[in-house]
Amino acid sequence: MSSTNEYHPSLLRGLWALTVRELKKWLKDPVMLLMFVLQPVIWMGLLGKSMNIKEMFSPTSLGNLTIENITIPGSMVNPPVSGVVVIPGVLIAQQLQQIFSNIGTTVMQNTFGVADYFSFMAVGMVSMIVMTTAMFSGMSIVWDRRLGFLDKVISTPVPRTAIIFSKVLNATLRAMFQATIILALAYMFGLQLSPNFTLLNMLGVYAAILLLGIGLSSAFLAFSIRSTRMERPMQIVNLIMMPLMFASNTFFPTTLMPPWIQAIAHVNPLTYLTDALRQLIILPLEVSVLITDFIYLSIFAAVLSIVGIMLSWRYLTR
């Protein structure tokens, strides 16, 4: 009898086994899955459709315009006429309303880049779901530790990298899956795709999600891995989720925000993800902007995942 065992796990094998376990767990809980999809759908429906910003510029928001008739001396018109010229107020009101609604479309276009707020906001929703999923799913390691599963895995020869990466991969795959569902639903509810949209753009969408997912989930994994209770990482997520969401272009363009919020938005990775997604999905693609977005997201992913994974590694064995 030889004293060493004949089998040794490869990194990929272990990574795959642990990731499949997580995905199986996830798919076997359809209620949670539904909740995760339902939440952004509700947001999308409520925020995107209720904040009907375009309607602000419809003639009705001017109310009943009563404009008195304007009398102009005949000498001021060209060619001059004798006596006075009376312009009926009703006519002016009609003209104003027409101009106003034309301005509306222009203002929307200039502010949001698209004519309808729903499309703008639906893409923001995709970023939001990517962010929450990436942050929350690393947290399952707290349960793994408490229930002893993590210790059992550590006692097997599976590469430590596989243990950590399986969590990151799982978070990212989930985020991609949910983003797909949200986009499909948004399209059904009236999202206006950019005329240049092709399936190739979709690959870009996944690449952007992958980058943010890796970065955020590694960071949160490093944070959760030391916690023995769920409450602490949960509280942190709650604390930073809202600021990340609102100090970014997720729901509103940053150009209209006060400078200090703009400064936050400018370093907020969510801004870059959302912008990349908008470029790819609803806007006429500006390649240079997209490249900037991707560079930022790549740096973010690289730095956070290296730091996150190094910390996780250290804390894995106590």
Binding site: S3, N5, Y7, A17, K25, K28, R146, L147, P157
Partner: protein, 333 residues
Amino acid sequence: MTEEVIKAEGLTKVFNKSLVAVNHISFTVKNGEVFGFLGPNGAGKTTTINMLITVLKPTEGTASILGYDIIKNANTVRSLIGVVPQEYTADEDLTGYENIMLCADLYGIPRKVSRKRALELLELVELTQFKDKRVETYSGGMRRRLELACGLINRPKVLFLDEPTLGLDVQTRAATWDYIKRLKKEYGMTLFMTTHYLEEADALCNRIAIIDHGKIVVTGSPGELKDSLGGDIITLSIKENTDVSELIRSVGHIKEVKNENGAYKIKAESGEVTGPLIIEALRRKGYTVTRLSLTEPTLNEVYMEYTGKSMRDTEESREAFRAHRITLRRARA
């Protein structure tokens, strides 16, 4: 293969720089042995096991398993050992079969081999008919058996069992031990276990170490440990009202005689032989023995002798305590 399967030298673990959980312990476990670690809550049993299975890093000292150092050759050690943890670690959302296959994947066992092994092991622990049911629906005993099966998927040379019958009822405990014995016979492993059920340790272990406050207080076979207490206790009373202590002492193999208000407490080697000799000696002098009882020391007495009689408050970390509670709750469910 080395005769010494586990060899610990000055193994020490200090938590948070102040809590000394395990304090320079050294011991050896021989090939094929069942070695039991006994001690009150918080004595350092689980911490020791966690160091041996490479989950915790020792603060000082080290140990080797089959000659491989648990720190330097951690990965080799991992592939050689099997672990049955205190908690129920199987994933509740997966089926029994999926859980075993997950373990197999973590050891890198090729699918072709692991499928066959998994079915064999499920058969052995009699879970075959439940293999495609979610673990959620399993009872405490079934979960324990599944943990056993998972711990054996890599055909370990050494199996570590941390409180394998914690939270199980008497019948399930007995049944679980039957499985463990059968598995040991089948695979010829060395077993290292912790328990605080003394009768189990007595019945199963070849050798026992009693650990308290992070230190091993005594090591030996259950028989040796019992003998170390000084033998059996014979209690007898006589009809007459005279003190016969001296007479009893004159019989051979007597270690100690105490007269407690006419009831004599006699410590003697091999009480079952000495008892009749005492009766004979007394009768020859005309005394009548009215009552006699013989108590062989159990591991209980040994345990009390070495760890002190007071009950311990748990000194385990809160985390361990919580894990313990979760296990109990699941076992009851």
